[in-house]
């Protein structure tokens, strides 16, 4: 049994096209022998068939009936032909009204377009089979292809289809010849409307179904009035803007984006939807090396545009790295990740962001004003998705007002602009268009795209920007911080005995979530530092080479896996034990240090910031502490030497005292 229309969702069918009923009424008006369209006889070789009408008569009648001018009448007539109420007798594949003596005829109501019944593929198969029966090889190429497809899909019904086609053909023979011809024309016209030849569109392509039948009169029930009341109340509550302001904004938007709109302006090299050639899409991939000129121009429109485009953001990141103010963008990205990320890791992410960016003595400290800091800190006691919104907005504005302007004048941007490509518009002939249509292929699976995205992020994190405040000597990576902060350039290991976290002042312990769950197999310390550095996007420049001096091997692998895991939010504290050669410890400065200052060689517990308690705790092997404060307390007595400087945030002490983790 064929599955019936499942789009109904159990409701009565509610069509969308209100115009069909109205066109039907117009068509019926045209039938009037006195006031309708003049009908002629079509002369064929053997016989004559009545009720043919000329295009010009139709146009004249419509213009007269609706009191409109000829062009509009012609457009309306074309619409009627496109829907299939009138079909052309010559040139049957082009459904348009020609205002000359070309002949048309009215379609029989059985073949009128209707929305109640979906057009069945079975009927189409029967029609094609019938045409094939009449004369072998009469099917066109696209019809042939569809016939083959239908044969595959409807194989179980095929005998029935062939038999039904034969029977319909034989039944047709019982009719008189002119009637047979007319019926064939009618059926052919019907299928031209509903299965358009390639390169044309069906007028019955109407998109989603509406929930309401526009042709139906609505009963005035209490529900109806309730709806009207709600609607008007919402209208009143809507905030209003002066029309001069809103129109001004619209005008500004349209003048800026006029050339970038593919509807209004030709898309270079060519619009893939029209020509089936995907060069445009490949040139504008999210992380393409060389962007197009139009894309680069769009970055100059507003800061939002620059950030929303992944390529633009990468360029901006590069610029900020050169200016050593990458932490702003990193913080912004971290906040975005918090807002849009999974709910289970949200709390840890929020804390981590705080400790990386906002806390005093944080490795990548960003500069926000006191009031925002207050709000943020208060909010972080009960973290939720939007807890860092205020700070994020502040940083956004800062970047917009300050860095953006400088970026647009910077050599990085000018370089990108110079290298940007402006593709030539493509011109295709008919045959080439057909070939393109045949060569259509589906794009990459979203799973693959997501994997690529994640790999990119991990690579970015692995060879991330410099952490200016932590020019520590220790080479150990900070895997858990890799996602947002990257790994600070570790200088040569002074003490090979233990590897330390570069950003050690930031608490390694709370962040251990991701590390904990890293399976041991992923942590390999072979010299695969090479790949990670080379994976860095090509926009990386020589200045980054300092990063590459470090042995990136262990950290890149870990960073990759950890960043992945962080995203997944795994929580398996049991694994951390095997993380031995990693890092945690730190000496590093407990405070934020200005750029270029050597890190302190020894921990300086005395320089504890008043606001925070800083525990110095250097484990012999670099143990990563799980995020729970309880575990932290458990682990701290185990540590003998080495030190982990944790920044314990004020609310944590409160919570610790309360005994809640």
């Amino acid at each position: 049994m064929t599955i019936k229309n499942v789009r109904d969702h159990g409701q009565r069918y509610r069509p969308r096209m209100a115009c069909l009923k109205k066109v039907e009424n117009v068509v019926l008006e045209m039938q009037d022998p006195k006031t309708g369209v003049k009908s002629q006889t079509q002369r064929l070789v053997i016989t004559t068939i009545p009720h043919a009408i000329t295009g010009e008569d139709i146009v004249a009648w419509i213009a007269n009936r609706f009191k409109i001018d000829a062009t509009e009448a012609r457009a309306m007539g074309t619409m009627m032909v496109a829907f299939g109420y009138i079909y052309p007798l010559q040139d049957h594949k082009r459904l348009m009204l020609k205002p000359d003596t070309s002949l048309y005829r009215f379609q029989t109501p059985y073949f009128w377009p209707a929305q109640q019944w979906p057009v069945e593929d079975t009927d189409y198969a029967i029609y094609l089979a019938k045409r094939n029966i009449r004369k072998k090889g009469m099917l066109e190429l696209y019809e042939q292809e569809q016939y083959n497809n239908l044969y595959k899909w409807m194989n179980h019904k095929w005998d029935f289809i062939v038999m039904q086609a034969k029977e319909q053909y034989r039944a047709g023979k019982e009719r008189k010849k002119p009637d047979r011809v007319v019926f064939d024309c009618q059926e052919r016209a019907y299928w031209v409307v509903h299965r358009p030849p390639p390169g044309t569109v069906s007028a019955m392509d109407y998109g989603h179904d509406r929930m309401v039948d526009p042709n139906m009169e609505e009963k005035k029930t209490p529900d109806y009035y309730r709806r009207i009341i709600m609607f008007t109340q919402q209208c009143i509550m809507r905030p209003r803007v002066k029309s001069s302001v809103s129109i001004g904004a619209l005008v500004k938007y349209t003048t800026t984006y006029k050339e970038h709109d593919p509807f209004l302006h030709a898309c270079l090299p060519s619009n893939p939807w029209l020509t089936d050639d995907v060069t445009y899409w490949t040139l504008n991939m999210p992380n393409v090396e060389i962007p197009t000129k139009m894309r680069v121009e769009r970055w100059t429109f507003s800061f939002g545009e620059l950030l929303m485009d992944p390529r633009g953001r990468a360029d901006f990141r590069l610029f900020l790295k050169k200016e050593f103010s990458g932490e702003n963008l990193a913080f912004w990205e971290a906040c975005e990740d918090l807002k849009w990320g999974a709910a289970e890791t949200m709390k840890e992410k929020a804390q981590q962001i705080y400790k990386t960016f906002l806390a005093r003595g944080a490795p990548r400290w960003i500069n926000i004003d006191g009031k925002t800091m207050d709000i943020t800190v208060k909010g972080l006691a009960h973290p939720h998705r939007y807890v860092l919104d205020a700070a994020q907005t502040h940083i956004y504005m800062l970047m917009k007002k300050d860095s953006f302007g400088r970026y647009l004048k910077s050599p990085v941007f000018k370089e990108t602009q110079k290298k940007a490509i402006a593709p030539e518009p493509q011109r295709f002939t008919e045959t080439q268009l057909e070939q393109n249509a045949k060569r259509r292929r589906p794009s990459l699976s979203p799973i693959i795209l997501r994997q690529q995205e994640e790999e990119q992020k991990a690579k970015l994190a692995a060879s991330g920007p410099v952490d200016i405040t932590q020019l520590c000597r220790f080479t150990a990576p900070v895997p858990h911080l890799a996602v947002y902060t990257g790994i600070c350039e570790a200088q040569s290991t002074a003490s090979p005995g233990f590897m330390t976290l570069p950003n050690s002042a930031a608490c390694p312990s709370p962040i251990s979530v991701a590390i904990d769950s890293t399976p041991a197999s992923e942590r390999r310390f072979d010299g695969n530092g090479g790949p990670s550095s080379s994976h860095f996007p090509s926009i990386a420049e020589a200045s980054v080479s300092e990063e590459e001096n470090q042995p990136p091997a262990p950290k890149s692998r870990m960073a990759l896996s950890l960043s992945r895991l962080l995203r997944r939010g795994c929580n398996a504290p049991s694994v951390f034990a095997s993380l031995s050669p990693k890092c945690a410890v730190a000496s590093g400065g407990g405070k934020v240090q200005p750029l270029g200052v050597e890190p302190l060689a020894q921990p300086q517990p005395r320089r504890i910031a008043n606001f925070f308690q800083i525990k110095v705790d250097i484990p012999p092997e670099c143990r990563i502490y799980p995020i729970d404060s309880e575990d932290e307390e458990d682990d701290s007595p185990d540590t003998a030497r080495g030190g982990v400087k944790e920044i314990i945030c004020p609310w944590e002490t409160v919570t610790k005292q309360e005994g809640t983790g």
Binding site: V45, I46, F111, F160, R175, F183
Partner: protein
């Protein structure tokens, strides 16, 4: 309820139940094909009471056939002792039967809406579709009657039409129920049924006449006609010139 028709039992001339089933399904397919042809005339300029009557009769016939078909096929498919090959064939018939019934159902729904819109009793405007002849032959084919039945055109009153409409509605509901029942009673897996016949049906006949009509219709704009005429004219001229040359030669020789 449609009248039970003894004719059905006479259709399958062989005693084999399979042949009988096939014959039933074939007749049903024929009836549905004719019904479609008739339905395409509704609302057109030849729509009159005789067309409506033909429709009604064809529909009755189709429903009777459907009923007997269903009983026959259901009985066979539920028979556990059926050999494998025959079961496959019966399943084929089953699929054909259910698709046919779906087509009939769709056509009946369309006819129902159309009859409501183009009511004979109210003298609604009919569309000038260019059809000229009647459809009695088609109906006769469906009913397997060899003679034309010329029954008189009774005037259609609105009450009669209303009655017919409600009856049609009931019949549609009944076919719906039949379809559902069928699916419940017998489980035929569609993906196990394979087509036995060829992908392309053999051309049934050399119906060159209507073909010629259509092709001329299509190609008139291209001037193909004139080209063929020119070719013929040239041939004629060539022959004439040859004849003239021959006669001149003869004259000279003589």
């Amino acid at each position: 309820m449609p009248l039970s028709n003894n004719k059905v039992a006479d259709d399958g001339t062989s005693t084999q139940p399979l042949q009988e089933g096939k014959a039933l399904v074939d007749s049903l397919i024929k009836a549905v094909a004719c019904y479609r042809h008739l339905a395409s005339c509704i609302g057109g300029c030849t729509d009159n009471s005789s067309l409506r009557r033909d429709l009604w009769q064809t529909r009755e016939r189709a429903q009777t056939l459907a009923l007997s078909c269903r009983n026959h096929l259901t009985a066979r498919l539920r028979d556990k002792t059926l050999p494998e090959a025959e079961r496959k064939e019966t399943e084929q018939l089953w699929v054909a039967f259910s698709s046919c019934l779906e087509l009939l159902h769709a056509d009946m729904c369309k006819v129902f809406t159309m009859v409501k819109q183009f009511s004979l009793a109210n003298n609604s405007t009919m569309v000038q579709t260019g059809i000229q002849g009647g459809t009695t032959e088609v109906a006769a084919r469906a009913l397997s009657l060899h003679g034309l039945q010329e029954a008189g055109d009774g005037p259609q009153t609105s009450s009669m039409e209303g009655q017919e409409l409600s009856q049609l509605e009931q019949e549609i509901a009944q076919v719906d129920r039949t379809l559902e029942d069928m699916e419940l009673k017998v489980n035929v897996l569609r993906w196990t049924v394979e087509a036995l016949g060829p992908q392309y049906a053999d051309p049934v006949s050399t119906d060159s006449a209507s073909l010629a009509l259509l092709s001329i219709d299509e190609e008139a704009a291209q001037g193909f006609c004139s080209r063929s005429q020119m070719f013929a004219a040239m041939m004629l001229c060539g022959v004439a010139i040859f004849a003239v040359v021959l006669s001149v030669c003869v004259v000279f020789l003589v």
